[in-house]
C-alpha cells in the first residue's frame, strides 16, 4: 500500500511516515502542494493525507487538484487549526469546506497512531461505500 503525505512540517511528516511504516505502508512525504501533486503524477497512491495549511497553495486547492487528478483516491484532510466560528460556534466549518472540495474524511491534529489508522481504514471503506457519512476524529483528553 502506498500513502502520500503532504505536510510542510518536516517532523510531522516523518512521524506519520514512521507510524505508517508499522502499518506496512510505503510513504512519500511532500513538503509542498506542488511536489505532492507531482508525486501523484508519478505513481498510484492508496491514500493521500494532506494538511490544510500549506505554503504556496492552500490545502483546499490542493485537495481540489488531487481530486481532479485522482477522482477515486481517498483523501484525508488534517489540520492543527481549531477555532470557534463566530456564526455557528463550531470548529467544523474549515473541514466541511475540505469535504466539499473532495476530502473523504478529516482528522484534527494532534492525533494518535490509532486515530490515524482508523481514519485511513474509514477512508478506504468510504471509497467503497456509495453514500459517505460524516466521521470526525477528535483526540479525547
Amino acid at each position: 500500500m502506498w500513502a502520500l503525505v503532504i505536510d510542510d512540517d518536516v517532523n510531522v511528516g516523518e512521524a506519520i511516515q514512521a507510524i505508517l511504516a508499522s502499518q506496512r505502508f510505503e510513504t512519500v512525504h511532500a513538503l509542498r502542494a506542488s511536489s505532492g501533486i507531482h508525486a501523484l503524477e508519478q505513481r498510484r497512491f492508496d491514500v493521500v493525507i494532506v494538511d490544510l495549511f500549506l505554503p504556496g497553495m492552500s490545502g483546499l486547492d490542493t485537495i481540489y487538484r488531487i481530486r481532479q487528478q485522482a477522482p477515486d483516491v481517498p483523501i484525508i484532510a488534517m489540520t492543527g487549526f481549531r477555532y470557534r466560528h463566530r456564526a455557528s460556534n463550531s470548529t467544523t466549518d474549515l473541514l466541511d469546506l475540505a469535504k466539499r472540495r473532495g476530502a473523504t474524511i478529516h482528522i484534527h491534529k494532534p492525533f494518535t497512531p490509532s486515530q490515524l489508522v482508523e481514519a485511513i481504514g474509514a477512508s478506504l471503506e468510504r471509497r467503497r461505500a456509495p453514500e459517505p457519512a460524516s466521521v470526525e476524529r477528535e483526540l479525547q483528553p
Partner: protein, 204 residues
Amino acid sequence: MRSASQSPDNRVEDVCASDIAADLDALPACAQPDCSQLTVDEVGSAIAHQVTEPLTALLLYLHELKRTTALPGPSGALPALIESAIGEAERACAIIARISESFQWSGEPELAIVRGRQAIRWLKRGGIGEQVSGDQSPEFASLTTRERQVLDLVSSGASSKEGALRLKISPRTFEAHRAQVMRKLGARNTAELVRMVFVGGLSA
C-alpha cells in the same frame, strides 16, 4: 488514474477561490503583514497551530515507542515511563486544544485560511533567528554569514523557494548553501538540522 470526470460524491461546486493564497506567498517579506495587521484571534490561533505541529509528532513517536517496547524482551521501567510521557503529551494536547478553541474567526472559512496562513508566516519569520545565532559551538562557528542566514530560514520552516526569495538568490543556490550547512554540522537530513537548532544539538 488521471481523469477529468468527477465521481458523484466528489462533486466540486466552487472552483479554487483561494488561489489568492499562492499570490500572497509570492509577496516579498516586506509586503507581508506584520503583527499589528493581524487580529488577536488570528495570532492566537497561529500560535496554537505552531505548537500543535511538534505535539503531533511527539504523540505519534511516543505511541510508536510504547508499541515497540511492548514487544517481548527486557525493558525494565520503560513501559511505565512511556505511559507517563504519553499522559503528559496528551495533557499538553488537551491544553492547546482548549486554548485554540477560545479564539474566534469571523468571516468566511476561505478568508480565515488565508489570514491564518499569513499569521503562521509572520510567526515563522520572527524569534527563531536569535536562537540559532546564540549557539557558539565550533561547528556553528564554522558557518559563513550566508550559511547562518540559510540555517535561520530552514529552521523557521522556509522552503527553498521561500528562502531563496528572502535572500534574493536562486533556489538552487539556496539548496547548495543548505547542503553545505548540513555537511558542516553533520546533519543527515533537514529534519535533523531543524532538531539540532531547537534542542541545541549543534555543540554535541
